[in-house]
Amino acid sequence: MNEQPWITLTNLSLLLGWLAVYFCLPKRISGSSRLVGYGVGSVALIITAIQIFFTYSFNPELVLFCLFSFFAVVGACLMIVAQNPAHGAICFALTITSTGGIFLLLAAPFVMAANIIVYAGAIIVTFLFLLMLVKQHNADLADSESREPFLASFTGFILLGCMISVLNASFSSQSQLGARNEIERIVDDTNKALSLTDLSELKAKVINGDNNVVTRLKIALGGSGTWVERIEVDVQKNGTLMINKSDDIAEIKSALASLASIGNDYLKYRSLLRPSIAMPGNSGADPSLPLDKIRKDQSGRPAMPADNTTFLGKLLFSDQLIAVELAGLLLLVATIGAIVIVRQLPTKVSS
């Protein structure tokens, strides 16, 4: 297990976020704790923003991401602490629109549109209608008091901390991009070497001196993470094998082949650190492409991922046709069910 310090900026902002949510949640004796909560929450957000700006290189995507996620998180927090459900619904609408921006950054314009229409346009409005229907004359006790605010917010943030640490362990850092490229090269070299038949030539390519693939792989992986350590054990094993059987070309080749497969596995499963180059359905351009390489439409402007809708439609109505039909059936059943549930029996009116 990796020895990471417990006191990190991430954990600090988590702690502050917990305190902020705890202070803001409605309590019987709230006093001015809500104001304290706002203050602490702002500090947590600022710390997080600083962390992000120091981690990632500055580009428009980062700015947009920060903007949208700021509004989404703030809207979400305000929603759960709002004493008036109507205010909560408005804050939820803010969150929905902000996540719409995030969806756009993730090259999903159709989903963004559908999301906003369904949530902000339909669900929120229905909620507001409902609020009007149930017509509370006074603020309900239920709105002014939370159940277990301390325990609930603590649990929520512990869960969040766990998820973040798991994510950190899996996708450790930006530097792994370089590692990924290096590993790609190593796998390439190893595959080339496997096709050779001369032992001395093979040794010169992949074993001798700086070209030793085992050493190179170790250096490339050498960052951090327990997963990497496990891979290193396998690598070390194959390296020892190659040294012990240095005269037998077949043994060396099999060891090399297993090394190559380790590298391939790593590339395949362990490092989703950048968008895939080949995006089917034109969901968006590779951000690393230079501007002049970006796909253009007929009028010469950069092609928006408008084709996304086309390809999504093709996918839905070919591969996932049954699922779509079932979803339609579900909607129908839900409609009927809602009507049946709400149908008011005459005797209940008086009570």
Binding site: A76, T95, R147, T155, L167, F171, S276, A334
Partner: protein
């Protein structure tokens, strides 16, 4: 250039906030909005994977989540309406009949709340077609 991790963290944050809201708030409508918030976090997760894996499966998944959420909203709203009719309140704590039979109901002390801490009353619309009385007019903001 942003990586997958930060999108996943954003999804996790939204999910956990929704979770806190669902667990701690007692108003059924707020609880339901919190559940929808959790769905938003999950949707961001799916879209990020879709983007970084380079295929459209994640996006179609989000569309299904949307349709299920719509169904859920319809049913949940209907349930909330009849629950409100039964107890004349949106408080979810009024529904705790499934406890062990010898346990005391988990009741909130109804102390003097309305007197001690002035909770502002909800805004309500006057009945359509009638001129509201002056006193009521004053009391409703």
């Amino acid at each position: 250039m942003l990586d997958l991790k930060i999108y996943l963290i954003l999804g996790a944050i939204l999910f956990c906030i929704g979770l806190i809201g669902f667990v701690s708030r007692r108003n059924m409508i707020t609880m339901f909005l919190s559940a929808e918030l959790m769905l938003q976090g999950v949707a961001i997760n799916f879209l990020a994977f879709s983007r970084f894996r380079g295929n459209l499966q994640g996006q179609s998944f989000v569309l299904f989540i949307l349709s299920v959420a719509a169904c859920e909203a319809a049913i949940a709203l209907a349930l909330i309406v009849i629950l409100y009719r039964a107890k004349n309140s949106l408080d979810v704590s009024k529904w705790q009949d499934l406890r062990e039979e010898d346990l005391e109901p988990n009741e909130d002390p109804e102390i003097l709340l309305l007197d001690t801490f002035q909770i502002e009353p909800m805004p309500t619309l006057p009945v359509a077609g009638h001129r509201p009385a002056k006193e009521e007019d004053a009391s409703h903001v």
